[in-house]
Structures are given as structure tokens and as C-alpha cells.
Symmetry: C2
Subunit: 223 residues, 2 copies
DNA sequence: AGATGGATTTAGACCAGGCTAATTATTCTC
DNA sequence: GAGAATAATTAGCCTGGTCTAAATCCATCT
């Protein structure tokens, strides 16, 4: 299967959207995720379906096939190992590393990734706290982190996992000094889709909408 | 200037051919180098000329402009730093490293290359003995190595620079255990375009056509 | 100087991946 | 259950990069 970077990005988008919504994915969702028009998506879905990488039912939605998912898992492995390398050896910050990896993931060979994984010591998690599929593309077990939304006011936690694909979310968190390793106290978990936290480095309260807080993984600090 | 990898490869081909023949480059030469047909080359030359990256006179030939050369030098810098990393840290062999670098060179950012150069200690030469342009794209001075063709029978030398872009040449040298660091004795420099050498590791004489021997750089071993 | 052959360009086609405008399905609302 | 609103697809066009076949240029040789 010789796939263009463009086609690979459609598969990745479908993967992430399936994961986010837990159901088959709509044309519009892909078109928004990738910033292309919906007719463009339709024609790519036709072509991916022909190649057996997705199951696509017009007007109904699309899902990855096993072969499609395998391709995505290899890309995710490439991506997360690259991010690990870029941060640990080239001193990229967690908020700048994604774009570089998102391009390179399509262009490194499997051989490269094998060797890089060995060089890095076969890590199971990347610096954003996300799991890295192993050489057989098995995803490590559930991450042991608890979403910020499940803590109580007053809880003292260390951030371990940070959503970073969306540039706006990334920028906001980075601006407010919330990243991997940040210590913070949960201030308020409001029923109107808001969590407020106080990073110990700043003493300033930071408001987080639930959809962001839910994706921040943290570990309780045992005093 | 937002250039496709394909366009970049045309510029690189022109650069290497100019270097090899010391004159402007013909359509056919590019078409052989890149394995595309000559009409394809003609149309790409039109487009590169319009963008000011080459000077192209139909039926006469083509040369890089300063802007074109700058782009190539950045690619060469990317390429040689990548090869250095791949060999020194990921244990690629000198004969397998080129293809990976030849793809990646088009996809790493300038930021990546700056950081990689720092990580590697700002090397001036790659593991094939080729000079690496510095951050301002200045090529280091002439390599201090002497082509194998200029030695005399009986001379004892260490190979420092090895041509490796042509897969056939690369395969031949690798097969006969001639690579960076190889010690060998010059056996015969024949007027019929042939140099024979004996690598000290094998004791078997290896014949090299002049066009290959000329590109092998070596240093005399002082006994 | 003219004829010829090889190199080169022009003409016309195709595919991937985009777009806009128009059409058709599906879903929502009353 | 009909009409309106929304989502999705189809139709048709464009660009970049490729090809083959046809036309043209130019260097060389007599
Ligand atoms: Mn990422
Ligand atoms: Mn990507
Ligand atoms: Mn190389
Ligand atoms: Mn290349």
C-alpha cells in the first residue's frame, strides 16, 4: 500500500474523530478537522473505501477498517517517537514539537522508526503523556492518569498528559504555564462546563472548559 | 518560496550535474538523473525559470540562479546533517543512509536542522567525507583529501571520502569492503581508465574505473 | 550549403487532490 | 406527514507533475 501523506492524514483524522465521539465519522467533521471542503472529503472517502482502508456508506458515515487502523497506528508510533526525540535531544518545547512530528511522521521509514525506538530505549509513553504503540502496533494499556474533571476542589495534582493537537488549546495551556509536569491545585469544578485550577508556579487561577480539562491527565500528589 | 519536494530534486540534480561537468546542464542529463522523460523536464524547467530559480534557455541548457543555489545548499546541509545523525546515533551503515536522508531532507524545518546541527556539535564534514554547509550556507573550504587517481602504485592510503549517490557504485564499493576508514594499497593506475587497489582487510585486488576512483578521496598513511 | 539524425520542445492526455455551484438525501420542525 | 433546513454528493473546473506522439531545432558531415 503506497499512500500519500494527504491520504494518511485523512485516515488519522478519522481515527481521532472516531476516538473522540465513539461512533462513525461524518463528512463535515473531517472537512473541519482537515480544513478542506466537503466535496473534497467525499471524493477521498470514495478512494479510501476502494483501497479497503475505510468502510464508507454515503450519507451515513465512515469508519476505519483493520488495515486502515494499522496504517494509523504506525503513523501514531512514528509521531510519538519523533516527539520524544525532538524534546529529549533537540530541546523542542512540548508546545512546538507537534507540527514538526506531524510532517515527519509521513516520511520516515519503518526502519528509521525501529532504530529510533531502540535509540530512545523503547519508550511506552511520549512527553505529552500519550502512549506509544509498540513495534507490533499494540497500544499500551490505558493510561494511568485521571482526567482533571474527576478531581475535587482542593486536590493537589501533577499534570502528566496534555492535549496538544489543537493549536488554540495548546497556546492557551502553554500561555498559562500548564504543561507536562506542572503542579497545580484544583480550585473549582463547576457544573457549567468549567474547571478552574491554580498552577503552583503562578498562584493565578486558570479557567478550563470541560472539554479541555477532560483531556488533561493528572496524578494526585501524595503529600 | 514554497517548493515541492519534486521541484527541489530538480534543483539538486542541476546542482550536482553542474558540479560534475562544470558547465550548464542539458535536458537529457536531468531526465536520466531523475528517471523522468525529457518533456517532463522541459516543463519543469519552464516553471523553475519563471520562479527565478534557474536560468533556462530553450535548446541551450540550464543553470542555477543564486536563489536556486541557496535552496540547494540548504537541502545539502539538511541531507548531510541527517546522514551524520543516522550513522552516529541510529547505526545506519554508510551504504544505506543516503536514501533515508534523501527523502527527509525535503521535510525537516530549518529550525530542526539548526537544532540537529547543535546536537551533533556543528560538524563540518559528514561520515562520507563530504563538507556540510554552515548555518549561513557557506560551504567549508575544499576537502583536504586527494583523489585516488593521483596516487602511485604502492601508496598506502586511508579512504576518507566515498561517492555514494549512485546505487550501483555504492553497492560495488560496499561489496568490496571499500568505505570511509578503509585502509588500502594502490596497486596499479592504468592509462585505460582503471585503478586497482588492495584493501588491507581483504588482500583481494579491486578494479575501479577512473570515474569512480576520481571521486574517492584518500589520505596518505604515514608509516 | 543542404541533408540528416539526435536532442529538444510542443501538443494533448491522465491522475491526484483541491475548489465552487448545483443537486439530492436526510433530518428536524410544526 | 409536509415543508424547511441542513448535510452530503455530483458535476465540472483547475493545478502540478507525469506520460506518449508529433513537430521542430541544431550540429555535423559531405
Ligand atoms: Mn503530537
Ligand atoms: Mn501528519
Ligand atoms: Mn547522501
Ligand atoms: Mn531528495
Amino acid at each position: 500500500m503506497d499512500l500519500s501523506p494527504v491520504a494518511e492524514d485523512y485516515l488519522k483524522a478519522i481515527y481521532h474523530l472516531e476516538d473522540e465521539y465513539g461512533r462513525s465519522v461524518r463528512t463535515t467533521e473531517i472537512s473541519e478537522e482537515l480544513d478542506v471542503t466537503s466535496p473534497t472529503v467525499t471524493s477521498m472517502l470514495d478512494s479510501l473505501d476502494e483501497r479497503g482502508l475505510v468502510d464508507y456508506t454515503p450519507y451515513q458515515g465512515v469508519e476505519l477498517t483493520d488495515r486502515g487502523e494499522e496504517i494509523v497506528l504506525q503513523l501514531v508510533r512514528n509521531h510519538r517517537l519523533l516527539e520524544t526525540f525532538l524534546m529529549e535531544y533537540l530541546d523542542y518545547s512540548w508546545s512546538t514539537v507537534h507540527d514538526e512530528a506531524d510532517r515527519l511522521e509521513h516520511h520516515v521509514s519503518d526502519e528509521f522508526t525501529r532504530r529510533l525506538a531502540r535509540f530512545l530505549g523503547e519508550p511506552a509513553t511520549d512527553p505529552h503523556g500519550d502512549p506509544i504503540p509498540d513495534a507490533d502496533l499494540r497500544m499500551p494499556d490505558e493510561s494511568p492518569y485521571t482526567p482533571l474533571t474527576e478531581y475535587e476542589p482542593g486536590d493537589n495534582v501533577t499534570v502528566e498528559q496534555v492535549p496538544h493537537r489543537d493549536p488554540d488549546v495548546r497556546e492557551y495551556l502553554s500561555q498559562h504555564r500548564i504543561g507536562p509536569g506542572t503542579r497545580l491545585v484544583v480550585d473549582e469544578v463547576s457544573p457549567i462546563d468549567l474547571v478552574t485550577v491554580v498552577p503552583s508556579s503562578t498562584d493565578t487561577s486558570v479557567a478550563l472548559p470541560t472539554h479541555v480539562a477532560r483531556r488533561i491527565g493528572a496524578r494526585a500528589v501524595t503529600k
